[in-house]
């Protein structure tokens, strides 16, 4: 096995774990969105949590080749940052893009 083969093998294993972790992150943000929709506002602490989780999702997805997920997470981060009052309509669409991109059927890069 060459060094490249070994690195690629390890990379795929880590990428699979990262994808699972990112699904958890997306679920966490989905939960915060539902709370935001329910109450019509996002508290400071919840906003910080949503921003931090989305930022982590963006970085991790991008590092492991999930470009579309990373881009959507970047847009979501901006939308959460800018949103006041109820969640902008775009937030749900971005979360849908992220969740679809993280599903098992999408191949690991």
């Amino acid at each position: 096995m060459t060094t490249s083969d070994a690195v690629e093998s390890i990379y795929r294993e880590i990428a699979q774990r990262a994808r699972a972790r990112n699904r958890q992150r997306a679920a966490e943000v989905r939960g915060l969105l539902l709370e935001w929709q329910r109450t019509g506002s996002l508290g400071a602490e919840q906003r910080e949590q949503a921003l931090a989780t989305t930022h982590s999702l963006r970085g991790s997805a991008g590092t492991f080749g999930q470009v579309e997920v990373s881009l959507a997470a970047g847009e979501l981060e901006a939308a959460i940052h800018a949103g006041s009052g109820g969640p902008p309509a775009v937030v749900e669409a971005l979360l849908d893009r992220i969740e679809n991109g993280l599903c098992d059927e999408t191949p690991v890069a």
């Binding site: 096995m1 060459t2 060094t3 083969d5 070994a6 690195v7 390890i10 990379y11 880590i14 990428a15 774990r17 990262a18 972790r21 931090a52 930022h55 982590s56 963006r58 970085g59 991790s60 997805a61 991008g62 590092t63 492991f64 990373s70 970047g74």
Partner: protein
């Protein structure tokens, strides 16, 4: 048996709160580029590791919970034992950090783990 990389007598401290990113970057930097790697998951750990191990350079994520990368950088610069260690920032906001003269350079996030070692060598002027 994988072909070993050319030896590089450099110790890097990699600081990122994401477990998977730390692991993949460490794997690539060790197996592909031949660096010796220490890791830290937060700013406090980074400062302690830098004092204890005096790495040749620190690769430091900016967005971390608690003590963020810039706060960590300030602590490193304020300590005479770590003030001169070159620091490279990992950041999604390259345009904001690129004028920070306290750092050797910045690498945009998300980064390609397979190119990270080359980018580090280029910023620090290390031959590869």
């Amino acid at each position: 048996m994988p072909t070993p990389p050319p030896p590089v007598d450099k110790l890097l401290l990699l600081v990122d709160d994401d477990d998977d990113i730390r692991e993949v970057a460490t794997t690539a930097l060790e197996l592909v580029d031949g660096f010796r790697i220490l890791t830290a998951a937060n700013g406090h750990g980074a400062v302690q590791s830098a004092r204890d191990s005096r790495p040749d350079a620190i690769v430091l994520d900016v967005m971390m919970p608690g003590m963020d990368g810039l706060q960590t950088l300030a602590r490193l610069r304020a300590d005479e034992q770590t003030a001169d260690i070159p620091v490279i920032l990992l950041t999604a906001r390259v345009d904001r950090e690129e004028t920070d003269h306290r750092v050797a350079g910045t690498i945009a996030k998300p980064f390609d783990p397979m190119r990270l070692g080359r980018d580090i060598r280029q910023i620090l002027g290390w031959r590869g």
